[in-house]
Symmetry: C2
Subunit: 335 residues, 2 copies
DNA sequence: TTGAAAGCGCTAACAA
DNA sequence: TTGTTAGCGCTTTCAA
């Protein structure tokens, strides 16, 4: 395959300089006489020369590409993060190799391997559950890694996300202040520490603070899907829930529509607060009140964080985990 | 950065063979005595050797990575395609470098350049409008390229998508058969040939077939956003439209909610058909009738197509453009 | 079946 | 300021 024909050597010959000099002007090395630089640039332009990044990568041991492991691009939560990542990546002249893992530990491990084989300069990992094995692989490899919008329960790997505990506390407190004594807690798999650890803790915290006893019957562990929420109403009704905190927007839309279809008035008879403030929250009626997370920024900050690690910048002032501020937006699904 | 420490040379020494032999077993070359292979494999395992893909790429002139240019990962239409692409890519041992372009010709050209510099084996392009300049760059480069869910108005670049003309014809015919004489045509930028050329043609075709005169006042060119649709109702009302074909789901949700908020009964007083059958169509009420496009498959087929081109497989039986079947699903937004 | 050796296109000392 | 010269880690003839 005769893809790349002209090399740095051709340019050197044409410009009557050494390849070292060509390399210098290509890399913006100041130690080149302006006249020489001009001449070389002219030849580069004429020959339409384009440096071979693979050769460069081999010689310099830097590929200017980072690996991004994502459960599913199709999920807005993650694609928002990914967009933030890509934007600051290209700002710093990096490209991203994106790989879907479906949150499957086996795929994650396998993908990590090929990413390392491709000599990526760094890795951003998104995933619901960081297994011990993967964490071990991460620490073993010398490649810098940052978790975006994901947490490491053992807090060994750097990560950026919001304070899930506090966010849930605020949301549920709001619900309780509206007079709800029985607030349901609806999330995806508890194996994800964001749910099983942080959010649940926040939920229990507020309950305790308001002297309400924790009732496991009000905790609903499902998967992150519209359908799962839609069929939940009967269970919610029999648990006598009058409000719900929901950990995912699609799920929340399902809960909302399921309730509405059953003739329940939202928010008069049932209040809902969701978690990601995606477009969905504004498209359904009533629009959903939601915790807001700066997803794009989480991705962006993760990537920025990674560049620091890759450049071995001074990071003494940085914490291992960066917490970005969450917010709350009241819409029509709460009183 | 001491990322990769052990090389093929270390393995060779440890196994007391030449690096050529190690290379052979790594690459599954059959010309290796089973005993030798076993010995080498054992050393590879013990040393935890992982072939350096960059060096391999330089020597073999193959990187097993393909570039994917996408307007915005955050958009479900494109992320669905991307998911299909990545799945079959990994099936064929390729990785994808994903780059967002925002459909901006300048970014597209720039991204294409860095992709080529990185020696990708192929490129998949998604974009609303293939400029002449970009098409020229595509044809000039020797790298195989296919357009996914996008079209080349001049039909010079290979692509896979559905038959937009026929899809719109079917949708609008349905609306007309319900007695609608004034069907609005609402899409994104007409600069996208999918809208300005194919869909519009389909729209005009059915109108003509049913003896209805084409009225430019019924054509609404907006951008692909919920908000754009939401504010459209007054204009639709004054154009006396009683139904609408919409080219994008978010846009359609906006139109729907805008109409509902104005007290219009859907579908009794106004019918809507949208185009992408994304989750949104099932989340809004009434649920939206929609043309269905096999987005995931379009991505998957594009990638498969690309692998054929990259392997220089015999493609004499393949057309330059592959059309996948579209469908139609009736929901509650039409009579 | 195996090995020797010449690159792949570039960076990075080191000299000059 | 510029050039020479080793590599970077692997694939791939060509011989043996």
């Amino acid at each position: 395959m005769e893809k790349q024909t002209i090399t740095i050597y051709d340019v050197a010959r044409e410009a009557a300089v050494s390849m070292a000099t060509v390399s210098r002007v290509v890399n913006g090395n100041p130690n080149v006489k302006p006249a020489t630089r001009k001449k070389v640039l002219e030849v580069i332009d004429r020959l339409d020369y384009r440096p071979n990044a693979v050769a460069r990568g081999l010689a310099s041991k830097k590929t200017t590409t980072v690996g991004v492991i994502i459960p599913d691009v199709t999920n807005v939560y993650f694609s928002s993060l990914a967009r933030g990542i890509d934007d600051v990546a290209s700002m710093y002249k990096y490209n991203i190799i994106l790989a879907n893992s479906d949150g499957n530990p086996q795929k994650e491990a396998q993908v990590l391997n090929t990413l390392l084989a491709k000599q990526v300069d760094g890795i951003i990992f998104m995933g619901n559950n960081l297994t011990d094995e993967l964490r071990a692989q991460f620490t073993r490899s010398k490649t810098p890694i940052v978790l975006a919008g994901s947490v490491d329960a053992k807090n060994e790997v750097e990560s950026v996300h919001v304070d899930y505990v506090a966010a849930v506390e605020e949301a549920v407190a709001d619900l309780i202040n509206h007079g709800n004594k029985r607030v349901a807690f609806i999330t995806g798999p508890m194996s994800d520490p964001i749910n099983g650890e942080y959010r649940l803790k926040g939920y229990k915290n507020v309950l305790a603070k308001h002297g309400i006893e924790y009732d496991p019957d009000l905790v609903f562990e499902t998967d992150y899907s519209y359908r799962a929420g839609e069929v939940l109403w009967p269970a919610l009704a029999s648990a006598k829930a009058t409000a719900a905190f929901v950990g995912d927007d699609e799920l929340a839309c399902g809960v909302l529509n399921g309730a509405k279809d059953a003739g329940v008035k939202v928010p008069a008879e049932f209040e809902i607060i969701t978690s990601n403030n995606s477009k969905l929250t504004e498209i359904v009626r009533p629009q959903l009140s939601s915790i807001t997370q700066p997803l794009y920024d989480i991705g962006a900050v993760s990537m920025r964080f990674l560049t620091k690690m890759m450049n071995k910048e001074d990071m003494s002032s940085d914490e291992k985990t960066i917490e970005l501020p969450y917010g709350y937006i009241k819409r029509a699904s709460t009183k």
